[in-house]
C-alpha cells in the first residue's frame, strides 16, 4: 500500500517523525480498500444476480443473517486500534515532546505575513530580541525587531529562506502578523497553522540534506527542484504564491550559512539611529 500511495503521489519522507504519520495513512487506506472492495463486490453481485429480468419476484426478507453487525463491530474495533494505537500517541508526541528552549535543539521563529514567511533566528546568544508591531517596516524591519533590546543585536532575520541543520531536532514557533497562514513542509510531514495572536510550536527532524534530497529526486518530475515551504491556508490573493524555500544543511554547511548571514548583518546593520533622535 505504501508503494501504491507513493506511486500515486505521496512525496518522499525525510523526517524522523514522518514514517509514523505515513503508517496511519497506509493502514487507513487498507481499511478503506477492504471495505470498498467488500461493498463493491456485494453490490455488483447483487445487481447482477437480482436484476428484475432474472429474478422476477423479490424476497420479502432478503438477507436474514446478521453477519453485517459482526462486520460492523470488527470495523469499530479496527478503528479503535488505529485510534488508540497510532493516531493518539503520534499526536501526543507532536504536542508534548516539543523541545525546551536552549535544550540543544535548533530553535527559530516564523512570522507569517501576506504573502511571505519571515524567519527569525536568535543568533549565537540563543536569545530572541523583542519585537513590536510599532517597529514594523516592511522594507527594513519586517518583524519589528528592536535591535537595541537584549540579545537582539545578533538576531538574523530572513525572508522566505529557512535554513536548518540535518539530524537535529528543529523547533519552530509559529505566529502571523495579519491573517491565518499554514506552514506546510510536505516532504517532512509538517503542517501547522500560523495564527495571529498565538505562538504555536512545531518540531521535527530532517533525515537528509537538501543535496541528498536532490540526488534522490534525479529522474523524477521533481528533478532539480529543491525543498519548499507551502502555505496551506487561504490568506488572500497571493496565497497561491506564498512559497518559501527550505534548505537542509549538514553541520558545516549550516555553519557556513550562519557566517554568511553574520557578515550580511554586519555590513547592513544600522550605524546610526534615525528613529529616536531628538529634534
Amino acid at each position: 500500500m505504501a508503494e501504491i500511495l507513493h506511486y500515486l503521489g505521496l512525496p518522499i519522507n525525510m523526517s524522523v517523525d514522518g514514517p509514523a504519520i505515513d503508517e496511519v495513512i497506509v493502514l487507513t487506506h487498507w481499511l478503506m480498500l477492504v471495505l470498498f472492495v467488500g461493498w463493491g463486490a456485494f453490490f455488483i453481485i447483487s445487481l447482477v444476480k437480482f436484476r428484475s429480468s432474472k429474478n422476477a419476484n423479490a424476497d420479502y426478507d432478503g438477507v436474514k443473517s446478521h453477519i453485517s453487525s459482526v462486520l460492523e463491530v470488527v470495523i469499530a474495533v479496527i478503528e479503535i486500534v488505529l485510534l488508540v494505537g497510532f493516531a493518539m500517541p503520534i499526536w501526543a508526541s507532536r504536542i508534548s515532546d516539543v523541545p525546551e528552549a536552549n535544550s540543544g535543539a535548533f530553535h527559530a521563529r516564523i512570522i507569517a505575513q501576506q504573502f511571505a514567511w519571515n524567519f527569525h533566528y536568535p543568533g549565537d546568544d540563543g536569545i530572541f530580541g523583542q519585537t513590536s508591531p510599532n517597529l514594523v517596516d516592511e522594507m527594513e524591519n519586517p518583524i519589528g525587531l528592536n535591535r537595541s533590546s537584549e540579545g537582539a543585536a545578533d538576531d538574523i532575520v530572513t525572508l522566505n529562506q529557512l535554513h536548518i541543520p540535518v539530524n537535529t531536532r528543529i523547533r519552530l514557533d509559529l505566529t502571523s502578523k495579519d491573517v491565518i497562514h499554514s506552514f506546510s513542509l510536505p516532504e517532512l510531514r509538517v503542517k501547522q497553522d500560523a495564527i495571529p495572536g498565538m505562538k504555536i510550536p512545531v518540531h521535527f527532524e530532517a533525515t537528509m540534506t537538501s543535496e541528498e534530497f536532490l540526488a534522490e529526486m534525479v529522474g523524477t518530475s521533481r528533478e532539480g527542484k529543491g525543498l519548499e515551504i507551502a502555505c496551506a491556508q487561504l490568506c488572500g490573493l497571493g496565497h497561491y504564491r506564498m512559497r518559501g524555500f527550505l534548505t537542509v544543511h549538514d553541520d558545516e554547511g549550516y555553519q557556513a550559512w550562519l557566517e554568511e548571514e553574520k557578515l550580511y548583518l554586519e555590513e547592513n546593520s544600522d550605524d546610526d539611529d534615525w528613529g529616536d533622535d531628538d529634534w
Binding site: 503521489g9 504519520i21 461493498w39 497510532f86 493518539m88 502578523k177 518530475s221 490568506c235 497561491y240
Partner: protein, 573 residues
C-alpha cells in the same frame, strides 16, 4: 385547511408567487435552488479554466473579467468562496430541505399542508432575499466575498466583499431556521391517523433529523455572522487579536479577540451542516432503493436509530476540522474518538442500503440508477473521511485536494445524485407525467463518468500535498509537479459534466408536455404520497385524509398478487 373551498378564487400572485401551499413553495424552492446549483457549477467551470490553463484568457466569459480575460487571483478567490457558499447554502440545502422536505414530508405523512403555511412562505422569501444579496455582491463596488466559504477571520474581517456575504448569510440562516421549525412541528403534529413513528418512511425520518440539526446548529453561526459583521462595520474586535500588522501598517482596532473563536462557532454549524447535506439524500435513496428492488428496506429500525445517533453525534465532532490550529492532545483525542464513532452509524446505514438489494427484483430505471450510483460514490466520500479523521494522518492531508475530493464525493456524486434520483422519482407526482427514461440515461451515464473524472484525480493531488485554493493549481510548487498533468484532465471532465446536464434540463421541460401520462402510483409504491392525485390537490393534497395500517415498505409480501401493499391498506383487507 380552512379555506379550501376558496382556492379557485386565488389570484395569480397569491397562487404562484406569494403562495402558502407547501407544494408551490416546494416548487419555488426547487426551481430557485436548481438555478443556483447551475450558477455555482458555472463559477467552478470558469475556475477550472484557470487551473487547466493558468494565466490564459478565459473563453466566453473572459470579457466580463476585464484584464484581457485573465482570471485574476482575487477574482478566483471570489469565485471559490461563492462556489462553496452558493452550492451549500443556496443550492443543496434549499433543494434538499426546502424543496423535497416541503413538498414530500406533508405528503408522506398524510398531512394537508405544513403546520405553519405562512412561516413556510416567509422561509422561502427570506431565502430568496439572501440569494439576491449574494448575487448582487458580484456587482457591488467591493465585489463578492473572497475569503472562502469558511470566512476565517482575520482575513474575512479585512478582505473586501465580506459585508454583503454576511448580510446574505443572516437571511439564509433565518430562512433555514423558519423552515426547520416548520418541518419538526409538522412531523410531530400532523401525521395521519395510524402513522406511528416506526411507520414513518425513512425519508421523513431523515428530514426530521435534518431539521433538528438545522435548528440547533445554525443559531451559533448566525450569532457568529453578526459578530463578524460588527467587526467589519462598527469596529469591534471579536475575532481580531491585538498587534495585527496588515500590509506594513498597524491595524487600528481595539484587538483582544480570537480568530479561533470564529472557527469553533463556524464548524459547530458546519459539521452538522455536512449531515444536513447528506441525510435528506440518504432518505431519498432509501425510498428509491426499496421501491425499485421491490423489497422492504433492510434493517429499518437500525437505520432509524443510526440516523438519530448520527444527528446527535454530528454536534460533537466539529473540531476535527481544526486539528492543525495548535490543538492539544486531550481535545484532539476527544474529537478523533467522536469522529471514529460517527463513522459507525454511517457504515451501518450504507451497509443496510447494500443489503437491501440482496434478494430484490431490481428495476434499473433512471431514479434507481442515480440511487444505486449514490451508494459507491458516497462510500468513497465517506471512507476517505477516515484518514482525515485521524489527526496524525490529517497533518499531511489537511487543506489539500484530498479534502476537496473527499467532501465532493459526499456532496456531488453523493447528495446531488440522490437529488436527481428524487427528481426523477417524484416528477410524476408533481406533474402527472413521467420523465423520459432515454434522456434520463443520457443524463446519468455521462454524469457518473465525468463526476469521477473531476474528483478522482484530486485524491492523487492531495496525497502529493497540493494545497487547495491555489490560483495556479500548484504550478508554483515543486511538490505538485508530478500531479499537474491532472489539472487539464479534471477541467475537461468538469466541462463535459456540464454538457451532461443538458439532457436533464431538456427532460424537465420536455416531459412537462410530452412525458408519458401516468396514474397516481406509477412506480407501484407503498407510501402515502402515492395515494394523492398527481399533482396533489391544492392546499389539501388528499381526497380525504388517509389512514395508515402498515409499515412503510411492504413490498413483495409472500402470497400476495401485487408486489406492493400501500400503507393505507387495512391489515385484514
Amino acid at each position: 385547511m380552512d379555506n379550501n373551498h376558496h382556492h379557485q378564487e386565488e389570484s395569480f400572485w397569491r397562487k404562484y408567487i406569494f403562495s402558502v401551499d407547501h407544494k408551490i413553495i416546494g416548487l419555488q424552492y426547487g426551481v430557485t435552488s436548481l438555478l443556483f446549483l447551475l450558477f455555482g457549477f458555472c463559477l467552478m467551470m470558469v475556475m477550472r479554466w484557470q487551473l487547466a490553463y493558468p494565466e490564459e484568457a478565459v473563453p466566453i466569459v473572459g470579457k466580463l473579467l476585464g484584464d484581457g480575460g485573465i482570471l485574476l487571483p482575487e477574482i478566483y478567490n471570489s469565485l471559490g468562496a461563492m462556489h462553496g457558499t452558493i452550492m451549500i447554502f443556496l443550492g443543496i440545502v434549499p433543494l434538499a430541505v426546502g424543496a423535497f422536505g416541503n413538498y414530500f414530508v406533508p405528503l408522506q405523512i398524510g398531512a394537508p399542508d405544513m403546520a405553519f403555511p405562512k412561516l413556510n412562505m416567509a422561509s422561502y422569501w427570506s431565502y430568496f432575499i439572501g440569494g439576491v444579496i449574494m448575487i448582487a455582491s458580484f456587482f457591488s463596488p467591493e465585489g463578492a466575498a473572497r475569503s472562502g466559504w469558511t470566512s476565517y477571520p482575520p482575513l474575512a474581517d479585512i478582505e473586501t466583499g465580506q459585508t454583503m456575504w454576511l448580510i446574505g448569510m443572516v437571511f439564509l440562516i433565518t430562512s433555514s431556521l423558519l423552515g426547520s421549525i416548520n418541518i419538526i412541528t409538522t412531523v410531530v403534529q400532523l401525521r395521519a391517523p395510524g402513522l406511528t413513528w416506526m411507520r414513518l418512511p425513512f425519508f421523513v425520518w431523515s428530514q426530521f433529523i435534518t431539521a433538528f440539526l438545522l435548528v440547533m446548529a445554525f443559531p451559533p453561526l448566525e450569532a457568529a455572522a453578526v459578530l463578524q459583521l460588527m467587526d467589519r462595520v462598527v469596529g469591534t474586535s471579536f475575532f481580531l487579536p491585538s498587534g495585527l500588522v496588515v500590509s506594513g501598517e498597524v491595524l487600528n482596532v481595539s484587538g483582544g479577540g480570537s480568530p479561533l473563536l470564529w472557527q469553533h462557532l463556524f464548524w459547530f454549524l458546519a459539521h452538522p451542516e455536512v449531515y444536513v447535506l447528506i441525510l435528506p439524500g440518504m432518505g431519498i435513496v432509501a425510498e428509491v432503493l426499496a421501491n425499485n428492488s421491490r423489497k422492504p428496506l433492510w434493517g429499518y429500525k437500525s437505520l432509524v436509530y443510526s440516523i438519530t445517533f448520527l444527528g446527535f453525534m454530528s454536534f460533537i465532532v466539529w473540531a476535527h476540522h481544526m486539528f492543525i490550529t495548535g490543538m492539544g492532545s486531550t481535545m484532539s483525542s476527544f474529537f478523533q474518538t467522536t469522529t471514529m464513532i460517527i463513522s459507525i452509524p454511517s457504515i451501518i446505514i450504507l451497509s443496510a442500503f447494500f443489503i437491501t438489494l440482496w434478494g430484490g427484483s431490481i428495476r434499473f430505471n433512471t431514479p434507481m440508477l442515480f440511487a444505486l450510483a449514490f451508494l459507491p460514490m458516497f462510500g468513497i466520500g465517506g471512507l476517505t473521511g477516515l484518514p482525515l479523521g485521524f489527526a496524525a494522518a490529517d497533518i499531511h492531508l489537511h487543506d489539500t485536494y484530498y479534502v476537496i475530493a473527499h467532501f465532493h464525493y459526499v456532496v456531488a456524486p453523493g447528495t446531488i445524485f440522490a437529488m436527481f434520483a428524487g427528481i426523477y422519482y417524484w416528477y410524476p407526482k408533481m406533474t402527472g407525467r413521467k420523465m423520459s427514461d432515454l434522456l434520463g440515461k443520457l443524463h446519468f451515464w455521462p454524469s457518473l463518468i465525468f463526476m469521477n473524472g473531476v474528483f478522482m484525480p484530486m485524491f492523487i493531488q492531495g496525497l502529493a500535498g497540493v494545497s487547495r485554493r491555489l490560483w495556479d493549481g500548484g504550478l508554483q510548487y515543486a511538490h505538485a509537479s508530478g500531479t499537474l498533468q491532472w489539472n487539464e484532465f479534471m477541467s475537461i471532465s468538469a466541462w463535459l459534466l456540464g454538457l451532461a446536464q443538458i439532457p436533464f434540463i431538456i427532460n424537465i421541460f420536455y416531459s412537462m408536455k410530452n412525458g408519458e401520462k401516468v396514474d397516481r402510483n406509477p412506480w407501484g409504491s407503498t407510501t402515502l404520497e402515492w395515494v394523492a392525485p398527481s399533482p396533489p390537490l391544492p392546499h389539501v393534497n388528499f381526497d380525504s385524509i388517509p389512514e395508515v395500517h402498515r409499515d412503510p415498505y411492504e413490498y413483495s409480501i409472500p402470497g400476495r398478487k401485487r408486489d406492493f401493499t400501500p400503507q393505507t391498506e387495512p391489515k385484514k383487507g
